[in-house]
């Protein structure tokens, strides 16, 4: 049973002690727990985002038989901290032609959009900030803010490269939202609910219960989701909004110093978020492969480790794809989205609906082994 942090902790005895310490004010205590949990999760994800930049450079170096960063810290692992400090101490330059307010607003919108998605990410059955009953729907809606920030950043810079990048980004992000949304609809249909709690509780147990192995249509939907998620986060081979060989740096050409840093941070955290959502929706998320009747806190940590390892494995695949495939052309990008992925996604949705009616919602494994 998935639950939020507060309702999970309230089953333990020390919750009453905490409650007494907060003067029996449950709202205040809930706020304190959420704030602490939020700081921990944001810190964790910001570190993962920072390490993502390091992993990206190290893995690309491996693929291209180079060394990669190896000076700061052991194996260069502290490179992202050095990069962060460098960005902070760089001069902040704004083009005098820019729209100042939107120029300031764009990186903040990117950060807000990405951090707000972290609130519903199910790290384990007990560590989840908000189990909204429209969980996955909320996630799709709020992550659109990143698309808005990409377009705003491109528009507000008043530079031709930024403008082209922003236009491409807007058309790409809104287009790829369609196959992603329809693939997620297929999962909603199989799970019979939009909250992550419902979706996770249907995938408990062995990998045969994961939604990606539920039926052939869900299997394809998983891949459609992953390809669409790559494009939505502007990752290669779909990184046209920031194509460095044709558009200088795309929508963040004019961004310097810390503001560029926020864009980069938001982008890398968003990649982690879509990987985490992919792991939760299709790969069973944080569910343990066996059933246990008792519930202790170390078990929750084990679940977090399971969720993280699935999400980070997907993260590795994302980086691997980036350094393996060449970039697409704009028209090829739109053709893939509208002529291939969207019809395939609709086919999967219809397939899943028919499957639920014909086989009464049973997965392949249940049909074969019959339990």
């Amino acid at each position: 049973m998935n639950q939020t942090v507060v309702s999970y902790l309230s089953q333990y005895e020390f919750y009453d002690v905490l409650l007494a310490a907060f003067g029996k004010n449950e709202g205040l205590l809930a706020f304190a727990i959420y704030l602490l949990g939020g700081v921990i999760i944001v810190g964790l994800c910001a570190t993962i985002g920072g390490l993502g930049t390091f992993a990206e450079r190290k893995i690309s170096a491996d693929i291209q038989q180079r060394l990669g960063p190896n000076r700061v810290g052991p194996y260069g692992i502290l490179q992202f901290l050095a990069d962060g400090v460098k960005m902070m101490t760089k001069e902040d330059v704004m083009p005098f032609t820019a729209d100042k307010m939107l120029f300031y607003l764009a990186p903040m919108l990117a950060l807000v959009g990405v951090f707000a998605t972290l609130a519903v990410l199910p790290f384990s059955s007990g560590l989840m900030m908000a189990d909204l009953n429209v969980g996955i729907f909320y996630l799709i809606a709020i992550s659109s803010l990143v698309g808005v920030s990409v377009f705003l950043g491109g528009y507000a810079s008043n530079s031709k490269w930024s403008m082209l990048g922003g236009m491409r980004g807007a058309s790409q992000i809104i287009s790829y939202e369609i196959p992603v949304t329809i693939s997620i609809l297929a999962v909603t249909l199989l799970a019979g609910g939009m909250s992550f709690g419902t979706i996770m509780s249907h995938q408990r147990g062995l990998p045969t219960n994961w939604f990606i192995f539920h039926n052939p249509f869900a299997f394809i939907a998983g891949f459609v989701y992953f390809i669409g998620a790559l494009a939505e986060t502007n990752r290669a081979p779909f990184d046209l909004p920031e194509a460095e060989s044709e558009l200088v740096s795309g929508y963040h050409t004019e961004y310097t110093g810390m503001r560029f840093g926020f864009f980069a941070l938001a982008e890398y955290i968003e990649v982690f978020v879509v990987c985490g959502v992919g792991a939760a929706l299709f790969l069973g998320g944080s569910n343990l492969p066996f059933d246990i009747s008792f519930d202790i806190i170390p078990l929750q940590l084990l679940e977090v480790v399971i969720f993280m390892s699935k999400a980070l494995a997907l993260y590795y695949v994302v980086i691997w794809i980036r350094w393996t495939f060449p970039r697409l052309r704009v028209d090829q990008l739109m053709a893939i989205c509208w002529k291939y992925l969207t019809p395939i996604a609709i086919f999967n949705l219809i397939g899943c609906a028919v499957w639920v009616v014909v086989f009464n919602g049973k997965s392949i494994a249940e049909l074969i082994f019959g339990h």
């Binding site: 309702s7 809930a30 031709k160 403008m163 939202e177 509208w338």
Partner: protein
């Protein structure tokens, strides 16, 4: 009152607040640490070292603007499909699966019809949409 009363949107607001706090904090640190030597040349928009020609806010041929319109239709329809998908299993368990499936399919068929129309008109192609528009302009 149970803790469930606070399980709503409070964490979401907290996370958004943390994002704003991080942004403002990072900005503050950058203001304190970064050098400030503004010059006119430094703050011109980047155009590969040339003097920028005109503003970037000019007339611009946005290809695929029809795609934006299809996106709106798809987005609204998927918003309407989410509740149906969420209770689809429940309907099936109640024995109305076939009826729900027919309604669902007829709803999706409107979507398919829309994308097929757009595809046939050539709004999904880079070159053909150009040819179609010039032919109509003659």
């Amino acid at each position: 009152m149970t803790p469930a009363n606070f399980d709503g949107l409070m964490p979401v607001v907290i996370f958004m607040g943390l994002a704003v706090a991080l942004f403002v904090g990072g900005h503050f640190a950058s203001v304190l640490l970064a050098p400030k030597k503004p010059s006119h040349l430094k703050s011109t928009p980047y155009e590969c070292g040339e003097q920028p020609v005109g503003s970037a806010w000019s007339m611009f041929n946005v290809r695929f603007y029809v795609v934006g319109l299809i996106f709106i239709i798809f987005d609204v329809e998927s918003v309407l499909m989410f509740p149906v998908a969420a209770i689809f299993r429940e309907l099936n368990d109640m024995g109305h699966g076939g009826y729900a499936l027919i309604v669902f399919l007829s709803f999706i068929s409107i979507l398919i019809e829309g994308i097929a129309y757009c595809w046939k008109k050539g709004d999904l192609d880079w070159v053909k949409s150009f040819q179609v528009s010039t032919k109509n302009n003659k």
